[in-house]
């Protein structure tokens, strides 16, 4: 069947119009007949015409439109050119309809473009093309690939091309060729290759398999085992990474609470709202950048950090001065009061920004991921957040242990009366500490805005997790918060693939309850007299 198709496409190749591209060739693009569009795409992919490549690229980018008279034009910003000839044309923009491209066409477009790019002078473009083909190489690409393999010098690209070639040759009628193909494919690490290899030796309902030659079967089994071991490794590493990543998010969310609740003892139900305010500060900074510095838009995030910190710090200070300072040592009242404050803050944000979620975009440098080893892609935004959370942790630790303010904070939280007697301005220290905790939560909010929704209720979804981390880790201990956050993250990620997200969450909760029963002080107990009072 595939061989037939090769012949068919070869015929097409010769049947191509020898003349330059005209509007008549592009006619199928107008309208809804996707089969006709596909045939055209494949045809253009086989052609050597420069204009053909331009059309394919424009189709892939969604830059082609059709006028009501059926003329296909290519938009270049505000001006339009004839898609076939490249001559400038004047059209009424309101009268244009986009040429609709569906996912099937996108796939063919990518393959066609990749086929055309295999002979590009730039090795990077060739590599991308080879990678593209490795996923979707159909029999019709065999002649192109064979040609490219001969010419290719770069070993990495050559390996990919050979694998694509081997994928196609698995259907060869010559058993020796099939065996060789299977051996080559053992060096691949693509799950896709594994699946199509497995397909060949799986028994169907009649008890027979596609591959009948025992030698080839053996080669395939070997290749599968090789791919499996490389995949298992990547999967294990990915699981650890996602555990650390979830842990870093949990820790960031909980770090502010570790200060306001952990150190100061205020059961701070408004903690989640500090996160939310930090996220909205990010949104506001993004808006400012969009309006005033659209060129530097990608760098709004670093600028949002100080803004978020200052805004939440101020909100924290105001709340402490106005409400919380009257409630020290009265946990029940402060629980109710801070919860009331959280409702007020949510409503305030809802009134100012509206009840809808707002859009906070990932900057370009935080989108996408880094392929460390095949099958293991580490997303940039997650890596940045891990680094950021460690940075914030370091700053908090330095301030608490290496500065005068930190000394005061620890002094006041450990023995208020004694600190007071020694001339520490306890009330001012309280205010600053609470503001600091709020500010750190604001920084957490900046990070959260990059992985989830930003809406008035953002904080509500993190408050439980934050308390869980702080309580599990041990109240009053930074190390506890770190251990709690990363511990929960990793445990969660190892449970999830095994029993599903819903059960994993429940089991983690049960585990925490049991743990707190057994060890109420958390993982890291505060040493000293304060625990008793």
């Amino acid at each position: 069947m595939r061989a037939l198709r090769v012949i068919f496409y070869c015929c097409l190749l010769y049947a191509l119009p020898a003349h330059a591209l005209t509007q008549a060739d592009l006619a199928p693009l107008v309208g809804d007949d996707f089969d006709a569009k596909l045939t055209l795409v494949d045809k253009l992919g086989e052609s050597d015409d420069k204009a053909a490549k331009t059309v394919l690229q424009a189709l892939s980018d969604g830059n082609l439109s059709a006028s009501s008279s059926g003329q296909v034009v290519l938009s270049q910003g505000d001006t339009y050119v004839d898609a076939a000839t490249g001559a400038p044309v004047t059209v009424n923009a309101a009268d244009l309809q986009d040429v609709v491209v569906n996912n099937r066409m996108h796939r063919h477009l990518d393959s066609a473009l990749a086929g055309l790019s295999l002979f590009d002078a730039d090795a990077k473009i060739r590599l991308a093309a080879a990678q593209q083909l490795a996923g979707h190489a159909d029999a019709e690409f065999l002649p192109v690939i064979v040609k490219a393999v001969k010419r290719e010098q770069d070993p990495k690209i050559k390996k990919l091309l050979l694998q694509s070639q081997a994928m196609i040759l698995l259907d060869s009628t010559d058993a020796a060729q099939r065996k060789e193909a299977a051996q080559i494919l053992g060096g691949s690490d693509s799950p896709k290759v594994r699946a199509s290899l497995a397909e060949r030796i799986d028994k169907n309902a009649q008890g027979s398999a596609i591959e009948t030659d025992p030698a080839v079967r053996q080669a395939i089994v070997k290749a599968i085992a090789k791919i499996d071991s490389s995949m298992a490794m990547a999967e294990y590493l990915a699981r650890i990474f996602s555990g650390i990543s979830l842990g870093s998010v949990l820790m960031l969310a909980a770090l502010g609470l570790a200060i306001t609740y952990g150190l100061m003892g205020v059961i701070n139900m408004a903690h989640g709202e500090f996160l939310m305010i930090g996220a909205y500060a990010t949104y506001a900074v993004q808006g400012v950048f969009r309006h005033f510095f659209p060129v530097q838009l990608d760098w709004y995030l670093p600028a949002a950090l100080p803004v978020a910190f200052i805004v939440t710090f101020l909100v924290g200070v105001i709340l402490e001065r106005s409400v919380i300072r009257w409630l020290y040592g009265r946990p029940l009242e402060s629980l109710l009061a801070t919860w009331g404050l959280s409702l007020i803050l949510i409503q305030a944000v809802r009134t100012i920004f509206g009840p809808q979620n707002v859009e906070v975009a990932n900057p370009g440098w935080m989108s996408g991921g880094w392929e460390v080893i095949p099958n293991l892609i580490l997303p940039y935004n997650r890596m940045v957040i891990i680094g950021f959370s460690l940075g914030v942790l370091l700053i908090v630790w330095l301030i608490l242990t290496r500065t005068r303010l930190g000394l005061f904070v620890r002094g006041v939280t450990q023995n208020r009366k004694m600190a007071d007697c020694l001339g520490v301005p306890t009330s001012r220290v309280d205010t600053l500490t609470f503001g600091f905790g709020a500010g750190i939560a604001g920084l957490g909010g900046v990070a959260l805005s990059q992985i989830g929704n930003v809406g008035p209720e953002l904080g509500q979804s993190y408050i439980v997790d934050s308390f869980m981390v702080v309580v599990l880790g041990g109240v009053g201990q930074l190390a506890g918060t770190v251990a709690g956050g990363f511990g929960l993250g990793i445990v969660n990620k190892f449970l999830e693939p095994w029993i599903g997200a819903v059960l994993a969450k429940i089991i983690v909760l049960i585990f925490i309850i049991a743990f707190i029963q057994k060890r109420p002080q958390g993982m890291f107990a505060m040493k000293g007299r304060t625990v008793d009072n």
């Binding site: 799950p191 979620n357 859009e359 996408g368 940039y380 408050i463 990620k493």
Partner: protein, 418 residues
């Protein structure tokens, strides 16, 4: 934490109850009095994001009808209540609208659980509810008109499209949902449907996440692994808020729409307005209406909404979407039925509703089915564009009749109409 939630609920109920008792007005029977209609949508709490826009579109439609002389020479007077995303409160508010405010009809509800909670009230008091959101089916009531889609008007055609050559010819299906009744029921139907198409169990994966789930790393890794076994599509019934983290993770993990298309049943223009759309471009959604549809009725509808938004300063809801269109259509059909019946009496209006037609913004003339209280609706598949709108890549030629009782669930064969 639950204690806190409970307390919040009670406080909310108390507040809402005191606020609303002032709305009850004496009922007068003179024929030139305005017709009271109820609007039962959450204006606060988690569902406010979605439901507030429906309240506003209802008010806009009432104003439109009133501007053209009202119904039977009487003006429409909306009674708006806020059930605050609290399911038991929905029932309470519904009872209040019907018994105390004596509304002729109620437009409202979004989640299935809120509809299930008010259903006994409407049946007991023989009142009418118009429900404008796509849902899982498996329900039919004398007292409800469903103007959103049943599963065969959204989920099944969408899947059929993904299995077709144009949609990518999927051979494996990953069903991903939030853990509650709508995704569970929909996926049950889809699984049965796939079985009839010859899918084996190993080619269907069903995964659920808790509400508000925001870490999709493991699930995306699973999808990637699953997709290696052949052309795969993902059917997402994850609810509004969890969508952003999901699509972001998907994009960052290098899974593109053309490799593994995701079709979502809960992402419409309103939701996209609050999202960074970059990672979503090319993914699909299935609805019965898109704002980008080109039809005279839609041009009028969109313009009316934009003007209304501007006049009322509702900057948060700039776009129109499917449930809004369904609300608009429902209100107009009710008004037509009242005109036909010559009265607002529930039984007479119900009878007059059967077979009502309306030229809807979707560009089709929709008909209210004679027996099953559901609209015949066209099905459209849209690809998400960077500007937060949809490009229609496929639609049915004709409106499709609803099957509230899915034939793919055993035991439903005899339950097709009232």
């Amino acid at each position: 934490m639950t204690q806190r939630r409970e307390f919040l609920k009670h406080l909310g109920m108390l507040g809402a109850a005191t606020g609303l008792s002032s709305l009850g007005l004496p009922v007068m029977a003179a024929s030139k009095d305005p017709i009271k209609v109820g609007v039962l949508h959450s204006l606060s709490g988690t569902m406010a994001i979605s439901e507030t826009a429906l309240k506003d579109v209802a008010l806009m439609t009432f104003a439109e009808i009133n501007a053209s002389g009202g119904v039977l020479g009487r003006m429409i007077e909306p009674v708006v209540v806020d059930p605050a995303s609290n399911w038991p409160l929905f029932a309470e508010k519904a009872r209040q609208l019907i018994s105390k405010d004596k509304v002729a009809v109620t437009f409202g509800c979004w989640t299935s659980v809120s509809r299930k909670s008010v259903l006994p009230v409407f049946e007991e008091l023989n009142a009418l509810l118009f429900y404008p959101v796509q849902y899982e089916g498996e329900e039919l009531s004398q007292n409800v008109f469903y103007t959103g889609a049943a599963p065969n008007q959204q989920a099944i055609p969408a899947l059929e499209y993904l299995l077709s050559a144009d949609g990518g010819g999927a051979k494996r299906v990953f069903l991903l949902g939030t853990d509650y009744v709508y995704p569970r029921t929909t996926n049950k139907i889809l699984r049965a449907f796939l079985k009839t198409k010859g899918f084996a169990d190993k080619d269907i994966e069903e995964v659920y996440t808790p509400f508000g789930h925001s870490d999709y790393q493991t699930i995306v890794a699973n999808i990637k692994k699953f997709a290696a076994g052949g052309p795969t599509c993902v059917v997402s019934t994850i609810n509004g808020d969890s969508n952003v983290p999901f699509y972001k993770e998907l994009g960052n993990a290098g899974l593109k729409a053309k490799d593994v298309p995701v079709v979502a049943f809960s992402v419409a223009e309103q939701e996209l307005a609050g999202m960074d759309t970059k990672p979503l471009v090319g993914h699909l959604a299935a609805w019965n209406y898109f704002e980008s549809v080109k039809s005279p009725a839609n041009t009028k509808f969109v313009k009316m909404w934009k003007d209304y938004v501007k006049a009322k300063g509702l900057k948060d809801f700039p776009v129109t979407d499917d449930p809004m269109e369904a609300t608009y259509v429902g209100i107009h059909m009710w008004a037509q039925a009242v005109k036909k019946a010559g009265t607002v009496d529930v039984d007479a209006v119900r009878k007059a509703m059967a077979g009502q037609t309306f030229a809807a913004p979707s560009g089709f003339t929709l008909t209210m089915d004679k027996t099953n209280h559901h609209l015949h609706k066209p099905v459209m598949i849209g690809e998400i564009r960077a500007d937060g709108q949809f490009e229609v890549v496929w639609k049915t030629k004709e409106p499709v009749r609803a099957q509230p009782w899915s034939p793919y669930i055993p035991g439903n064969e005899k339950k097709q109409s009232l």
